[in-house]
């Protein structure tokens, strides 16, 4: 028994020893894990330090080699020899004796100076004391004492200046002994300096401690530790191209304007800035972290957090392009999106669509808009034939009682009219906005419909009324009113209807068929359900539209404003930070990643895929569009942004300051509402950037030139416009895009007897002027005018202006043609433009030559002589 007990206990001893050793080993593991396992950034920082060390050392060695190659070491040896010589001279007995003598004199005087200063301090103290007693007691004895002291002080000061006078030359002569040596030393120092600095940088780098680098943004209590690994991200030069040591790409755009020490990293890049234990965690690419890191162009989505207006913002080009898609597809029509509250409807007014289009077309369009033309913006709602017909019935019943089609395929056209129309079509440059079967449509942002099948879509009567006055049918349309005569319009209509027929169109209702009340009611419900009025104006017309008595009796009514919900879709103002739990993945929960970006992308790709009964239509976006839109939506967050980061848009600033936004007034407003200048030109912040900004056109352009240009627009900057792809005359590509001719001057402005050209000119000269630009170039009276002009010409030749500008047949085509500039521009504008071209057009390519005022006057005077004589 006892034996067994003993065995038993020795077995326990082994166990005890085994576990003790194990625990000891574990303790070592704990220490290692805590020091290194959980702090991977240490390794990175050490690696970075050694990389930087290598780089600096290489730098240093290269500098040393260069120093030697440039004969630095020889020069240094020479200097040192000189120094030796100078020292020998200085140390010679003779010099030393002289030096000691002078030095002795100087020391003596210096002692006197010191003594004198002591005395002065003493006197001043006594003086202040007496002054105090005198002001306190007003006794004369103190006054007398003060006067006496003042006299002594004056004497002392006098002595001080004398001593100083004696001291100065002695100091100088003393320094003469050492000056030769000092000069050589300074030269040596100077030669070594660059090298020493480089050496010091190596030492400094080695001294940098390895620790957590944290940026704390106090107002929102956000801590970013990204730089613990990305240690070289804001470095001045690239230490290594290896991650995570690279510099921030394009840091002159991003970091220069967003100092990392104030902004941190995660404001733009998201991710889990506090995590330091692994790259996956820090990048937020782990479960339960809803803000994975953004990289590449996707990061631009964060610009939307602070910048109210990203138009023209450097570094935000991708996101800006993407935001255009929101306008293009009119997402804001159904969804509430901040910043898009005032953007107009994307679709045309449909109140009287029954007078415009064929019923068969309307139904096929509702079924599948892309079938009509592939670039259609209207999405597919997956209506059945019945549903599409019901909606079409509702729309047609607002202006009539029948389903009807107008078929022109069998009509014989008037060839003469067609010929005229064809010429006008080219002349008016319809193709600038409207595509026809893939041709034209250079100005993409107006989204003019494709006209290649329009002959089977609309009827002639409507088209005539439309071209005559587009605003009458669709107030606020982008289509301008060309001042055509009725005869011209008739020709244009005949040409369009003949030329652009859809061969596949099926016309079922050439014989009109009565619309049934039940179908209208169903259509009304569908319109309400799918919110068609989000994009198309339908409301407010209930009183104006006549419902046929028979339909009225059957209870047909139209939607009233209060029956239309404002936004039928989900609010998107903070979709980019919506908790993932609140996103309904429905039946796709298992098949796609459960994160916000994947959700948004899937929704855009296939809007009704999450579950049955969803209403969002399918826009059939290209994958690139899906990505772009998703990146914008991802940027709509309710991120906690400190107010000091916010950069409100121009409009917001104006609103805050109480500045009313710019509005056109008077007769010019009428012209603009008619001709839609702002489709292409921007004027005082209103309008597009397709054509030149006209905000200061009155100061810039001469009246006579404006008149002739409006009458017959010509090309000014051949290359600066977008590369053209339109064939204005039947397939032959035309290399120049220019302004359409609106036939201004042929008519008076509505309700007035003023010519519209006069109104435009008047507005340019009254409103579109700036006091920054003088009317005339300043005059130089001392130099003869012809000499000024020849000097200007000399400058024009010297600076190589002809490389970009064309005069006559000579010169480049990058800048505007200057052959007629003397007739086109005001001299004051040229003068100012030569001073600082970027003031008027920030992204202009014109170089800055730094002309003097005189040179600018000469050049201006020369340019003003460039005139083409009218033919």
């Amino acid at each position: 028994m006892a034996n067994e007990n003993k065995n038993n206990s020795s077995y326990r001893v082994y166990l005890f020893v085994f576990f003790s050793v194990l625990l000891l080993a574990l303790s070592a593991w704990v220490v290692w894990d805590d020091e290194f396992g959980l702090r991977p950034w240490k390794k990175y920082q050490q690696e970075y330090k050694s990389l930087k060390h290598d780089k600096l050392e290489k730098d240093y060695k290269r500098a040393v080699v260069e120093f030697q190659r440039a004969g630095g070491h020889r020069k240094l040896a020479d200097l040192e020899a000189k120094l030796k010589k100078a020292e020998d001279v200085f140390n010679s007995k003779e010099t030393q004796e002289k030096y000691a003598r002078v030095n002795k004199q100087l020391t003596d005087i210096h002692e006197q100076v010191v003594q004198n200063q002591k005395e002065l301090r003493d006197l001043r103290g006594q003086f202040l004391e007496s002054e105090y007693y005198f002001t306190k007691t007003q006794k004369q004895e103190y006054k007398a004492k003060m006067d006496g002291l003042q006299r002594k002080i004056d004497v002392n000061l006098l002595r001080g200046t004398e001593l100083q006078k004696k001291e100065e030359p002695l100091k100088l002569s003393l320094s003469e002994f050492t000056s030769a040596k000092a000069a050589i030393l300074a030269e040596i120092e100077n030669m070594k300096n660059g090298l020493e600095e480089k050496k010091e940088r190596i030492a400094n780098n080695d001294k940098v401690p390895v620790d957590i680098k944290q940026i704390h943004i106090k107002d929102v209590d956000r801590a970013d530790r990204c730089q613990s690994c990305h240690i070289g991200i804001d470095g001045k030069s690239q230490v290594s191209l290896k991650q995570p040591f690279t510099r921030h790409p394009a840091s002159f755009v991003y970091l220069d304007h967003h100092d990392p020490s104030k902004f941190g990293c995660t404001f733009c890049h998201r991710g889990q800035g506090r995590a330091t234990t692994s790259a996956e965690k820090a990048h937020g690419k782990v479960k339960h972290w809803d803000e994975p890191m953004l990289d590449g162009d996707m990061t631009q989505t964060s610009c939307l957090n602070c910048h109210g207006d990203i138009k023209g913002l450097r570094g935000a080009e991708t996101i800006m392009k993407s935001t255009e898609l929101i306008k293009k597809y009119g997402c804001y029509s159904c969804h509430k999106i901040p910043g898009y509250e005032t953007v107009g409807d994307v679709g045309p007014v449909l109140t009287e669509v029954g007078t415009k289009v064929n019923y068969s077309w309307a139904v096929s369009w509702l079924l599948d808009p892309k079938k009509y033309f592939s670039t259609a913006r209207m999405p597919k709602f997956f209506f059945t034939q019945d549903q599409a017909e019901s909606i079409a019935d509702y729309l047609f019943s607002m202006s009539g009682t029948t389903r009807h089609d107008a078929d022109y395929t069998k009509a014989t056209p008037n060839d003469k009219l067609v010929e005229q129309g064809k010429a006008l079509w080219a002349q008016a440059r319809c193709n600038l906005c409207h595509t026809t079967g893939g041709r034209g449509g250079n100005h993409i942002k107006v989204y003019a419909p494709d006209l290649s099948k329009v002959g089977s879509k609309v009827n002639k009567e409507w088209m005539f009324r439309w071209i005559k006055n587009p605003n009458a049918y669709f107030p606020g349309t982008k289509m301008p009113r060309f001042r055509f005569t009725d005869e011209e319009i008739r020709g244009l209509v005949e040409y369009i209807v003949k030329e652009y027929q859809d061969d596949e169109a099926e016309m079922k209702y050439v014989q009109p068929v009565e619309i049934k009340a039940a179908s209208i009611k169903k259509g009304k419900e569908l319109i309400q359900q799918y919110g068609c009025y989000g994009c198309h104006k339908l409301q407010g017309m209930e009183e104006m539209v006549q419902v046929a008595p028979s339909l009225k009796q059957q209870g047909v009514t139209f939607l009233r404003s209060n029956e239309m919900r404002e936004k039928i879709g989900t609010e998107l103002s903070s979709i980019g930070s919506k908790p993932v739990d609140m996103l309904d993945f429905g039946k796709l929960k298992k098949s796609i990643p459960n994160d916000r970006l994947s959700y948004i992308k899937q929704k855009l790709r296939d809007p009704r895929s999450y579950r049955l009964g969803l209403r969002m239509p399918d826009f059939r976006l290209a994958e690139s569009e899906v990505n772009e839109l998703a990146s914008v939506l991802y940027g709509f967050t309710d991120a906690n942004v400190p107010t000091r980061f916010l950069v409100p848009s121009r409009q917001e600033l104006d609103r805050m300051a109480g500045v009313p936004s710019y509005k056109f007034t008077g007769d010019f407003a009428k012209v603009i509402a008619d001709v839609k200048c702002t489709n292409c030109h921007a004027i005082r912040g209103i309008g597009a950037d397709y054509a030149p900004d006209l905000s200061v056109a009155g100061s810039k352009l001469q009246e006579s030139w404006i008149r002739s240009f409006l009458a017959n627009p010509d090309v000014i900057r051949p290359l600066l416009q977008q590369m053209p792809k339109l064939g204005l005359s039947q397939g032959k590509p035309v290399a120049k895009v220019t302004m359409p001719r609106f036939n201004l001057g042929k008519q008076n402005v509505e309700d007035t007897n003023r010519s519209d050209v006069d109104v435009v000119i008047n507005f340019f000269q009254q409103e579109l002027v700036t006091s920054d630009i003088p009317k005339e170039v300043p005059k130089i009276t001392t130099v003869d005018m012809t000499e000024q002009i020849s000097k200007g010409k000399q400058l024009y030749d010297e600076k190589g202006c002809r490389a970009c500008h064309q005069v006559g047949m000579d010169g480049g085509a990058l800048g505007p043609n200057l052959s007629n500039v003397g007739n086109r521009l005001n001299s004051g504008f040229i003068f100012k433009h030569l001073e600082n071209a970027r003031k008027f057009k920030p992204d202009i390519v014109e170089p800055d030559y730094g002309f003097s005022e005189r040179e600018r006057i000469y050049l201006t005077n020369f340019l003003m002589t460039l005139k083409l004589t009218a033919k």
Binding site: R12, P579, M582
Partner: protein, 297 residues
């Protein structure tokens, strides 16, 4: 992944998986020993072994405890290095996690909330558990079973304790961890947790089932009679039984002990009874006392 595997492999639930195995192992082992000893007792042999049932504390016991302490420390150290604390997303005051589960050791009590009002499930019953455990040394008058395992000599004590511990405490924890999903609905291991799942299971009060409004006076009276008669009946019935069959036992116990034991026992048994009423017969409350802001049974 299989939902069940996903749940049991969550870092949160490792402790419970370990618990299941440990408890099963020790339970089986203890009962094996107990039955072995019972056979010895039945054949009249001593069960205490060669040392008269006594072992020195110093050396034999301390040594074992030291080794076990080392083993536990080794295990905990490895566990805490290898498995990170299972954090979830950043707390958001506007979002309630679903299901919202208590720490695992309280999940049994949370499960009781399905069957009882919070004041009962969260205050009275836990207090009684503590009081009852404290009372055991004072109400246990059986001198046998000290220092050795036995079942036959302490039948009632072991059965009642095992029921309370294994079923009412541990089983409820296991249910709370593995079988309760979003909305605190019941999910079998092979079922997918579904936040949108709807279960229509209308519960009624006991008297409403027989057509009397439980909040009316007759309903309250009937409910009160049922609850009180269970309590009184449950405490009186054993008295009558033992008086007839085992008056000696009653005498040994005395009135105070008897009342304490029967009260604790009746209260404990109320839990499975109410669970069955709720799960099988969809009874919400037996007795409603509407005047005190919801003291309901």
């Amino acid at each position: 992944m299989n939902p069940f595997i996903e749940i049991i492999t969550q870092p949160d639930n490792i402790a419970i998986v370990i618990m299941i195995f440990m408890v099963s192992f020790f339970m089986v082992w203890a009962f094996q020993q107990a039955f072995q000893n019972d056979r010895l007792i039945a054949s009249g042999l001593p069960v205490e072994g060669e040392n008269d049932g006594f072992v020195d504390t110093f050396k034999p016991l301390v040594r074992i405890e030291l080794i076990i302490a080392l083993v536990v420390m080794v295990g905990l150290t490895i566990w805490s290095i290898a498995v990170d604390a299972p954090l979830e997303e950043i707390a958001n005051p506007t979002i309630t996690p679903n299901p919202a589960k208590a720490p695992w050791y309280f999940l049994g009590l949370q499960e009781l909330l399905v069957y009882f009002d919070p004041w009962l499930a969260g205050v009275v019953l836990p207090s009684l558990i503590v009081v009852g455990l404290l009372a055991i040394p004072y109400i246990d008058i059986n001198p046998k079973g000290n220092g050795y395992y036995t079942f036959s000599e302490r039948k009632y004590a072991i059965i009642i304790f095992s029921f309370g511990f294994f079923v009412l405490w541990l089983l409820l924890i296991v249910i709370g961890v593995f079988f309760r999903g979003p909305g605190w609905l019941w999910y079998w291991p092979w079922q997918e947790w579904d936040h949108a799942r709807v279960v229509y299971e209308p519960t009624k009060d006991l008297t409403s089932i027989i057509g009397i409004d439980s909040r009316s006076i007759p309903g309250i009276i009937i409910g009160g009679i049922v609850v009180l008669s269970y309590l009184v009946g449950g405490m009186v019935a054993p008295y009558l039984y033992w008086k007839k069959n085992n008056p000696e036992l009653l005498k040994q116990l005395g009135m105070v002990r008897y009342i304490t034991i029967t009260f604790l026992f009746v209260t404990m048994m109320a839990i499975p009874i109410k669970m069955i009423l709720r799960l099988v017969f969809l009874v919400k409350y037996v007795w409603i006392i509407p005047w005190f802001g919801g003291i309901n049974f």
